[in-house]
Amino acid sequence: MASEERQKEILEKLKQAVIQYDEDQAKEAAQEALELEGLKANDAIFNGLVVGMQEVGRLFEAQEYFVPELLMCADALYAGLEILKPHVEELDLGVKGSVVIGTVEGDVHDIGKNIVKMMFDVAGFTVYDLGRDVPLDKFVEEQLRTDSDLLCLSAMMTTTMTGMQKVIDDIRKKNPKVKIMIGGAPVSKDVAQKYGADGYAADATNALADAIKMIGSLKDLKDEAEGKKK
């Protein structure tokens, strides 16, 4: 059972690398995970990197970590993810798909958007990242071009939030089946309802914590899917 112990050790190393925002350690541990027979890349991601990020989310909510720490932890996660991703087997989580994501015109804040994007990267989505300060028409255009399952709009400022409604109205007319998520500091449940969005993540702090929780729920889905197989 030496191998099982070794697995545990590597997963713990991946987890700690994310928590301690140590990119080098994340790369090293990801490499070790690939070399160890019996440890799947998927498991290394979800039972190592993601578990670490969940702990980071907890530390963030407890105000032990702030945004700078969160960004560094995300870098560590990506460092590991980049090595593991080419080795991931097809996973049926019931959520696989593609997403168009960006920050609406007038808004140059993209930290929240990038954390949400990380969630999709972890889940193996095809991500079309339009960046920040994106003209409203561009969202509609890209969604239609890529036929993505999801459209995610982000606004950090109240002043740019109103643009989201225009995108939603326009895209509903042209493509009623796409799921739309909105997020950002001024977004509330009321706003999401009023604008006709399918999902939302409110306020800067919550949006970041929520995004991390969503990665967590992907992990649950994965466990469930695998449980069924057995």
Binding site: P68, G106, D133, M157, T159, S188
Partner: protein, 344 residues
């Protein structure tokens, strides 16, 4: 109660901790309204780059609603532009969009050390236009309404001229490097603020929202931001305000320690707690939600919110951020009516 003071007298007395005829209701951040813009026939994207249009637009808010101040500019790009950044005013957008920076000054962490502060900084970008606009606003409003302006805090300005992601990570990994940049930017901010003082502003607000506790730890605020804020307020001669939005309850003592005459916080701050912490002498401005209450609320919700601010112990009613232009006139009027009626 009949008003016995002009807005200017009232506001200046608030800064001196003197009694006023009624609570002051004003701000140190933008107050442009679509009501004012349409009366003047101006498009929002155009008023940032013309001194006369800017002054008239800024003066329209106290004229239309009896608001206790006239504030200009309306955007957060003046200092960054003087350093060489390029602003986008979204001239083609039908919506109201605040200008943003489309071309930064520092493109990599290495360039932080080689930031070039032009010797003729105050003749660059829109600094001369700001001097002219402040003078025009003064002339237009005479002694009745105070004319105020704002500059960015050093951390927030750093976020305008370089990638925010890099700035935030470096503030943790290489605080000395960031502190050196903030030192340079402090000189820029003081130079611009002094020009505004010479042009005749009655007070100045320093907006340091980038260092809110939603983003930076109170510990980092104290060690990395506070020393530079102190240097800014030491250099100012008009009454001053430090504004930070979002979570601020843990940093209000540092905000006072910065040396600003008054502190400004938004609706996320628990004013009762803050008042208890800072004592009766502190001048605290706040703290209503300028969008969800003033724009999206009903006049009755506006009145309730204004009463709550005053009951909690603010020294003057003041929005948590810029007033969002589409504020319904009924709501603005309800706010002003409520401060006129208020009895402690």
């Amino acid at each position: 109660m009949a008003e016995t003071m002009t807005s200017r007298e009232r506001v200046l007395r608030v800064f001196r901790r003197e009694e006023t005829d009624r609570p002051a209701c004003f701000s140190g951040m933008g107050n442009v309204t679509t009501e004012g813009l349409s009366k003047l026939g101006y498009q929002f994207a155009k008023v940032h780059q013309d001194a006369r249009m800017m002054a008239e637009t800024a003066a329209s808010t106290p004229k239309l609603f009896g608001y206790d101040c006239c504030i200009l500019p309306f955007d957060l790009a003046v200092e960054a532009e003087a350093l060489g950044a390029v602003m986008n005013t979204y001239p083609d957008s039908a919506d109201i969009l605040y200008p943003t920076i489309k071309e930064k000054v520092i493109h990599s962490p290495e360039e932080m050390e080689t930031l070039h502060v032009p010797a003729d900084l105050v003749e660059r970008g829109r600094v001369p236009l700001m001097r002219e606009a402040i003078g025009l606003a003064r002339k237009e409003l005479g002694e009745t309404v105070p004319v105020g302006s704002y500059v960015l805090g050093p951390f927030t300005l750093a976020g305008q001229i370089m990638e925010l992601n890099d700035l935030l990570k470096l503030s943790f990994k290489k605080p000395d490097k960031v502190s050196k940049l903030l030192e340079d930017l402090t000189c820029v901010i003081v130079a611009v603020a002094r020009e505004y003082e010479k042009a005749g502003v009655d007070y100045l607000c320093v907006r340091e929202m980038g260092a809110t506790s939603d983003v930076l730890s109170p510990r980092a605020f104290k060690s990395l931001i506070l020393p530079h804020l102190k240097n800014i307020f030491k250099a100012l001669s008009v009454p001053s305000v430090i504004h930070i939005c979002g979570k601020t309850n843990d940093i209000v003592p540092f905000m006072v320690e910065s040396g600003a005459t008054a502190i400004s916080v938004d609706q996320k701050n628990d004013i009762v707690e803050t008042r208890k912490k800072l004592g009766p002498e502190a001048i605290i401005f706040g703290n209503f939600d300028p969008y969800n209450v003033l724009v999206a609320g009903t006049p009755e919700q506006v009145r309730e919110t204004i009463r709550k601010c005053l009951d909690s112990g603010v020294s003057a009613v003041w929005p948590g951020c810029d007033i969002w232009p589409t504020v319904p006139p009924d709501n603005f009027n309800a706010m002003m009516d409520e401060v006129r009626k208020y009895r402690r």
